[in-house]
Amino acid sequence: MKKSAVPDLSRRHFIGATCCAAVGATGFLSSLASLRLIGAVAPATTDYKALVCLFLQGGNDANNLIVPTGNDYAAYAAARSNLALPQTGLLPIAPKTSDGRTFALHPAVPELQGLFASGQAALLANAGTLVFPTTLAQYKSASVPLPPQLFSHSDQQVQWQSSVPDKPSTTGWGGRLADLVNAFNTNNQISMSISLAGTNFFQVGNLVDEYAVTTNGAVTMAGATSNATSLDGVRYKAQKDLFAQSQPGLFDAAFAGISSGAISHGELLASVLAGAPTLTTAFPSTSVGNQLKMVARLISTASNLNLKRQIFFVQLGGWDTHASQLDSTDPTAGTHAGLLAQISAGINAFYNATVELGVASQVTTFTASDFGRTYRSNGDGSDHGWGNHQIVVGGAVKGTDIYGKIPTLTVNGPDDTGQGRWIPTTSVDEYAATLATWFGVSGTDLQTVLPNIGRFAHPNLGFLS
């Protein structure tokens, strides 16, 4: 009798063979995933690019960053009452495209005005968190889902940084972007995601870790020294030796591994920064100035660390000004003016440093913030709003223009949900997708970074070349 072509399989053999196949498939799928990642960042180039997120924590009142002038000024002054800036001190701008209205910038941002005029800065109007494109009629009839907890600081910060407002997210869009483009960074020795402002949601990814440094550089262990004969040196070496030993438990091993990694990364970065060229560009001695100066120094060392893609996170708090927004005797002074002056001077110095380093067209700086603020004054200041204007700066920026649509600046008008809280006309997804596309993400892989991008009409707003 002819033997069956199907071999006799015992349960033991079947389970064994299945396990072998599963192990083999793991490697295969891993290879596929790697190929996909590399393919996602088309075309494969050897260039360097960096994204710098400047987060304005607390909610920037950009209604006073971009101010209507001419015939629209009177309505602005009436709506903003005590928050209105005098028309005489405003800094005029001439965007390439116009909807017929004229605008000017806050008197505290002359550097930004200069960057805008020379084509290195653009403005993005009325961007914000959205689940779907939303009109006022849809908002009023509750016919589309809205981002939960609008007007709440921490929720809106997370939603801006995750760009997934409609469901809990464990990662930020910067982290997902890093996961995808890290394929560029072959043999990189430290993480491509570096924060100058501690942990943040924006850079949380599944594969690439956030690496936090300070304005002085790498964070090292207290007393760390290479002087092996000093007491500190002996202790430091003993700690490193302990971490390097084989650990009996999972937690012990994980702790030792993370600690060893932090120590070695810190030592490496400190060493590389010590050999970095001295920047001649002067930075203002402010929080933003110091953070951006360190970002510039880190960019100058990127090639030494085999980094071809980097994402930085910089943050400035204090924007939740409420009653202290303006000085009661001088509307061009006050907390808001001071903060705007700080970011204007800091961004300008940083741009100049990228010119000095020869990477101006490879570094793009962009702002984000919790939300905009109410157009109508509450009598003292402004309250939490929704859509907001943002700033994009860099050599690759198609500057001297306002992208998106500045809302109809009328309280209870067609873009207002009440008190001058503008419904965003550009989603965070579209803003982020434009930056991610410039960073090298292909159109087919945008949804990996921005899962909701398919809901919106403009995955590339066109402000980067």
């Binding site: 009023k140 509750a142 907890q149 709440s152 600081h153 929720d155 202290s324 009440g418």
Partner: protein, 186 residues
Amino acid sequence: MTSGRAVPHPLLKRPLPFFTALVALAILAWYFWPRSDVGPVVPNRPESQALSAASPSTTSNPNSKPSPPASAEVSHLADTLNSPSTDIHADLRVVGDILTTFRTNFPHDGNPVGDNAEITATLTGRNQLHLALIPPGHAAINAQHELCDRWGTPFFFHAESGTRMAIRSAGPDKKMWTADDVVLPP
């Protein structure tokens, strides 16, 4: 007539794995079986209504259409708000407790959102459950539908997160952001 021993069913050859799996299935079924004995309970509400409050996501739109408060919903949480026998600190605790109760009944939504008038509207019944934690005709609500402190100034609600809301009273000088303001949490 058959001879020899009967061949046992394969499952009976090795009964232990079979029964272990059976027990595990039973435990899983028990664990995931829908239970009706959990859910937040609203003060002064029939249990059946309180149970229904736990599930839906209802308040994400601060501008959803007004709904008349259900006549059966009578809350006494705001009874002592602005009472002459208490003080502003007690008032703020009352408003804070109302927000906590609201969150308990809308766990997926967190605090009501918007400005004072929108938050007041939500707390007076403009939500899908018609849950009026503050009676719509409460004396603390002014003509602009804002919830006011004992000096008649609307409270300032500062949404720090979905579960943290700072509540500010302008104090007796009726002027916000001055030294006599009272804030919860302080």
